[in-house]
Each structure stands twice: as C-alpha cells, then as structure tokens.
Symmetry: C2
C-alpha cells in the first residue's frame, strides 16, 4: 500500500496549523464533520467506503525525516517543526459504519481533536472516503442491475494510477464478487479471478493450440477468450473442441469470454452452440465497455451471460468521477461554528452532532434521518433544513444512532472489520432500503431533517453573522 506520511495533505493545512501553533490554539478542541452534498449517478443512495483504510492510515500518521526536511526548506520555523516531529493523532473519531448507506448533508464521520490534529487529517480523510465511496456506489449499481450474476473487477489497467489498489476493495464492498487485481486481492483478502488475454492466443499460430495449452496447465480454472479471430466461426468451435477433450480427461471447461461485438447476440449464439455440444455447464463471461446501463440492456435482451467483467466505468466512477465530500469545522474555541453561503443548503450544521435513522415498525428503512445535537436526549419532530413549513412527527418510528466512537484519544476502539464482512453488511443494509430509493430513474428522495434545537442553533448563528456583515 501507499506509505502515507503526514505531508499527504494540502499545504494550507500545515500553514494554518503553524498559525494555530504560534497563536496559542494548539490545545483547543475542534470538531470537523465529513459529509457530502450530492448523490452520485443521480441515484438514491451512497455506499460509505474507505473507513478501515483511513483509520489505519491515521493511526500511523507521522511526519518523517524527509517531511521535516522539506518543511524546513519551505521556511517553517524550528519550534513548529519540533511540534510536528512529535505529531500523532490523539483525538476522537465518530463514524458511520463502513458499508452503510449514507445520504447528503448529514455527518458521516466527525473528528474531535486538538484543532491542529483535526486540520491535518482533512485532506487524507477526503481523499480516502470520497473515492472509495464513489466506487462502492458505482459497484452497487452494477450489482442491482446484474442480479445474482457474477461481477468481476477488471479495472486496474484503466484505473487512476495507484488509486486502483483501493478501487478493487471498494468494488467488493459495493457488491462485486472478485477482482483481477492480484495485489489488492492479497492485501484486502478479496477473491481473485481472471481469464486469458488476446496476446496469449496471438502467440500461437493456431487458436486451438493456445486453448489446449491453457486447458492443460490451468485445467481447474480455464476460461477461454473466444474473439481473437472470429467468435462464432473460430473461437467458440475451438473452445467446444477443447471442452470435449477436457471431458475425456475428466475435467471441466469453466467458461468462455466474449470481449467484442454484439454481446447479446454472441452470447445467445455461443450458448446455443455450447448447449448443443453438451457443454451446458460452461459459463459465458462478457467484458468490453460494461456499466450498469449495459448490464441492464443485456439482461433485458435475455442475453445468457453469467459473468460481467467491468473495468473503466467501475474504477473511474464515470460519469461523475468524484464524490463531492467536504470536511467542515462545526465547533472551535468552545463554540459551535458556521460557514455562511448564499445557498442555504451549503451552510454547514454547527456543533457536535448525532444522526438518527428512522425505521418502520417492520424494521425496514422509513427513508429518512434526523440530525440532532449530540447532547439532545429527547425530540419527537424533525424539521426541513431550509423550508420552515415542512416538518414530521417521529413518534411512529424507531430511531437508531448512526455515528459510533471508533477512535478514542488516538486509539482505535472499534474492532477492525474484514472486507467481506463490510460487503455483507452493506448488502443487508441495501436490502432494507425500499426499492423506490434504488430505482435508477428519478429515485425517491431520502429525507434528512434536523431537530428543532439544531435548526435554532444554526439559524441564530446565521443571524448573528449576517448582522455583523
């Protein structure tokens, strides 16, 4: 993995810290909230991913000698450099569970720490959570489209550099079965799979010889790529020949892969040819520019595809390419803090907060959450963040707090969770979300309301700032 050091951040985090340090604020407690504003892919939810990686990075985050030398060269003073040399995170982190569904404009993760420490985590937090959450969400959409067919991440070659390392992890959290990315499979304990490349077939004068050699050495895991010369005239007939030869040896051809042309038609024709040859157990894999819309279209055409290999659209999260997560100061100098904006929805929520999810009586998600002040113990109404006429009585719902303390005084206190465990949790949560929110076209809008107390606090701070200006 990447060897994070504390300079994996924006320069201003360090210069602002220098000011805090020299102005006597270094021990002052601050709270920053990580949240996002817009659901990606015009969808109805986001999958929260990246937390385990983030917490691991924070636990070990230090300025190393190279960092300190650079900062000295950049003109930082010795007293501050001495402070940075001893830097390690000593605060608290409250977070949603990784794999859970998250929604706009409510805290997903909150950092409560000496202001310099909290500030220095900003860029790392955004960098890690924004990307992995985007990719997990993209993967989840493909999972919704693919039903119970297999989904394999083929993205490393088109991934944004080493970002591809974590993309494979996020894909599994969002519902992918496995990855072709061996290194991520190794480090994140993700199932690894793959087929063969055109180059392998090209190496041979005859396609069938390449199939035979592969089937011999990789008999237990043999998926043959059939489109190098001509899918139906050459690739599939040769795969069938080799499949029958494998049967004679008591082995089984696992699958064929289609990687070009009209996948729906080729899959149907290939299926028919395989079945007619008695190879009905041989699976059909498809790749080449796959995304959730292509999967939906192929399955609507009843294409008999058992496995989709997805690359570019998965690891780039296109067309959105980035989740717009931000990290905003909500408490400092012993007071709740606010950033004004012309757009009400861009004004942050001040103070230390908790988020409650609303459940129907049968345990399903109602489709809404309430953001409350952390010390509120009783409220039975939620109000709209900007429309004073909209509110909702909460007595019919069960409420469940979503932010749990995962780091206390710099020490991880939650139990680290494996990737497959997070993926399974995510799957269960998505199941509880009513299907209207999972629709691709104009999904239901999940409600995020505020308690009256929080809204009053925010409005009074807005008023105070506006008066001053």
């Amino acid at each position: 993995m990447f060897d994070y050091t504390a300079t994996y951040t924006d320069q201003y985090q360090i210069t602002m810290s220098q000011v805090y340090f020299h102005k006597g604020m270094k021990n002052e407690t601050a709270i920053f909230d990580y949240f996002f504003r817009k659901l990606p892919f015009e969808g109805g939810y986001t999958i929260f991913a990246g937390l385990e990686d983030l917490l691991k990075a924070i636990e070990n985050l230090r300025f190393d000698q190279k960092d300190l030398e650079l900062l000295e060269k950049e003109g930082m003073d010795q007293e501050f450099l001495d402070y940075l040399e001893d830097f390690k995170f000593s605060g608290n982190i409250y977070s949603a569970k990784e794999g859970d569904l998250i929604f706009p404009n409510r805290p997903v993760l909150s950092v409560e720490a000496p202001i310099i420490e909290a500030q220095l985590l900003e860029t790392l937090t955004l960098n890690t959570l924004n990307y992995q959450s985007l990719i997990a969400t993209k993967a989840s959409r493909m999972r919704l489209a693919a039903g119970d067919r297999k989904l394999v991440d083929f993205g490393l070659r088109r991934a944004p550099g080493t970002g591809g390392y974590a993309a494979s992890r996020a894909a599994v959290i969002g519902g992918f079965n496995s990855t072709s990315n061996v290194r991520s499979g190794r480090d994140y304990n993700i199932p690894i799979s793959g087929t063969m490349a055109h180059s392998f077939v090209q190496r041979y004068d005859e396609e069938i010889d390449s199939f035979r050699d592969f089937a011999e050495v990789r008999a237990h895991d043999c998926v043959l790529l059939v489109d190098t010369y001509d899918t139906l005239k050459s690739g599939v007939p040769n795969a069938i020949k080799v499949g029958k030869e494998m049967e004679e040896r008591g082995e089984k051809l696992k699958g064929i892969r289609l990687d070009s042309g009209d996948l729906a038609w080729l899959a149907k024709e290939s299926r028919r040819m395989l079945d007619e040859a008695g190879l009905d157990y041989v699976k059909i894999a498809a790749s080449n520019q796959i995304d959730e819309e292509v999967i939906k279209s192929l399955l609507n055409q009843n294409a008999p595809i058992d496995l989709f290999g997805v690359g570019t659209s998965l690891v780039t999260g296109r067309p959105d390419s980035a989740l717009d997560g931000v990290y905003k100061l909500s408490y400092a100098n012993e007071e709740p803090r606010l950033k004004l904006s012309e757009t009400v929805s861009k004004i942050n929520l001040p103070g230390k907060k908790q988020v409650y999810r609303l459940f129907n009586e049968d345990g399903s998600f109602y489709g809404g959450e309430v953001v409350a002040l952390a010390d509120e113990d009783d409220f039975d109404i939620m109000v709209h963040p900007s429309d004073p006429k909209q509110s909702r009585i909460l007595t019919e719902f069960t409420k469940e707090p979503l932010l749990e303390k995962v780091v206390e005084n710099g020490k991880r206190i939650s139990i680290p969770r494996a990737t497959d465990e997070i993926a399974e949790f995510s799957r269960q949560q998505l199941e509880k979300l009513p299907k209207e929110f999972k629709r691709f076209d104009n999904p239901h809008a999940y409600k995020v309301g505020l308690t009256k107390k929080l809204k009053e606090l925010r409005d009074s701070l807005v008023h105070r700032h506006k008066e001053r200006v």
Copy 2:
C-alpha cells in the same frame, strides 16, 4: 510512494505466464507495444506522462514473500513459484520521450523481452501511463486556456485515492506551476503552494482577526480567503485593512482568493477595490469548479484573475476519466503477431517498429508521423492505415525517430529526468505543434501513416488469418 510488487497486475498475466513457463516458452522473445486509440477531450494531441515512474517501478519489480505465499495459496505449482521468486525484468524498453506529444495508433513504448517478463509488465504499464498521460493532457488544455496566468493543483481531496500522488506530477508536466499536495511536492520536487481554508476563518469570531493572525505568522506568503461571510462587504474590505497594516510593517499581502459566486464579477469588483486602496500588487486567485472551459470563459470576460486553483476536473480528467491505452503483442515465436478485428483501425501493427515524426523545413511539426518496421532504413512514402487511395510523398520533410532505447537487458540506460525538465520539454514540443491542432473545437487531425512494407506485412497477416477462419 506505492510499494509496487509484481502482483500489482491482473491475475491472467500470471496464469498465462504459468502456461508459457510449463510449455517451454519462457525464454522466447516477445514484443508488446503500448499505444492508445482515441485522443481524450476531443482534442488534437495527448501529452505522454508517467515514464519515469514506470521505469523506476519496473527496475525494482519483484515478487515478495507475501506475493509468493498468496500465489501458492491460489494453487500455483512450486516449480513456477521458484521461477517467480527469481523474477526480474531483463529485457529492453523503447520509448517516446516523456512529455512529448503522442498520437493514436502508433507505438508510444515497446517492450522486448522474454515473453513472461513482457507479459507481467502489461498492467503496471497501462495503469501508470494511461492515467498520468490523461492528467497531463487535461492540465495542458488548462494551460492553453490560461495563457501565462498561474495554475495550481488543488486536487488531492477529490483525487481517486492515492492516484492523486502522481496526478500532481502529471499536472506539472502538462503545464501547471505548482501543487497544494505537499507529499508529491516533496517526492517529485514540485513547487508547493496554498492559501487558507474557510475553517480557519470560521475558527475566529471576527474574520479580520483570522486575517491578522495569518498575516503575522505567514507574512511572506499570505493569501487571504475572502468569501467565508460576504466577499465584497466583509472579505475584501478586511483583506484591504490587513494589507495596509502589512504595508506599515514593510510587508506585502500576496493575494486574495475567491471561492464561490460569480467569479468574473467578483474578481473585477475586488480588483477595483484593491486598486483604489493602493494594493494593485495584490494578486487575485480563483477556485471552485474550474476547468479549461471556465478559464476560457472567465478570461473572455476579462476577469482580472492571476491564479486559478483547479481540483476535481484536473485529477479525475473528466469528462473522459481514462485514456484508452492498450498493450498489444506484435512479435512472438520468431514471427510478427496480429490481432484481428472487425474494425480495421483496431487491428494492431505487427513486428518490431520505429516511429518517425515529420518536420517542415522551418523545424515546426508537419502534423504527421510514419510507423515503419525497425529495420527499414529507407522509405519515402507513407500510406493511410486503412484507405488504400491515400498516401503522401515524404521527400519534403525531415524525419526524426521517436522511440529510443531506455532500458537494455533490464538496466536503465537513459538518464532519469526531473519533473521540471520534462515539463519544459513538453512546453517546447507543444509550441512546435501548429495551432490548428491545439484548437478545442474540431482540431486538425494529426496524420499517422504506415510505410508500405509495414502495411504489406499487416495485410498479409490479416489475409493469412482470414483464410484460416
């Protein structure tokens, strides 16, 4: 940086290698070409970036103990594992110069090595070059739009995970002046810069106090963010006050930053206010959803902006998100190799090749290149890759070979180049490209032709394969 090991690859590279190993092909020489098919951003050129990082990674690429344990668990046999334990790249690499302009369907980099070694480099090569070239190209477009105004990479928080590390490097190669990303600045020796965040202003009860503290501690590098409460009523007036106070101390306020609202209008008003206060030396920086189109629009409106801070659109390379680079086998088993395709432009170029750029008499780029067989020493005509009616006599041009040997028998033989040197080379090359190719809308199409010999070789192989099918 990332600790690459040889499992930073797709699973099939290893399984195909296993077949080559057991079928007696491990010492057979193969040639693979890296090239791409489609210019990103509907532009007229691509900037080649990522080579130095790639060569460094290849030089040190090994299977470590964790890799070998995983592969054993995945069922690889001991003999092959023993071979992998000793794996290191021993072949040759021919490459275009990093920072040069590259065009579709001609080799950018060629690997000539024992087939297993060449195969095992595929994913790493694609992963590194595709992303950095995309980002350098995106950066270069912003440079074209921005003229001589400063461009700063603010992208790490929205970058695709650790991909952001190399993105900052690629941005500089494409023409950015500096980055906020301290760690990349440190490792790639890139200028680092930054301003201040809203959180810093929010920390204080009064905006002006935050400005004063920052100006005191960071007097030599003070850019004040003026939109936390109200840009023209509060931010700019407070920045002017602090600027005048700095003057009294013999210091100079460096700049202000606008991060929301109508940037064109706010820049003009801010400029007027600053100038009226005698602070005409104070620069104006702008950020918030900047890309090449926004820069063009702002400058068309004569917005007096001196510096653009660019985040998301730079590091994600949207809307394209990925360069479609591929790595194709062109020689193996002592013969040129081909992959057929229904689309002629997708058929690869067989054999060992060289690429020649055509220059006009005055040293400017003609706007075309010829792909030749490596052992051709004389040709004076180039033909269109698919249209037999199109050809061009080359006698009026000077030709320059573009692929140079950078690795020989596994050893780096070209001198490593620093990021700023590559950036300067790229700038010079772009200057030589006629402006019609640099236009954003419908740029001139750069010609990539073949020598007759290469075309004949390709056509004869196509013919042979089609006959067989």
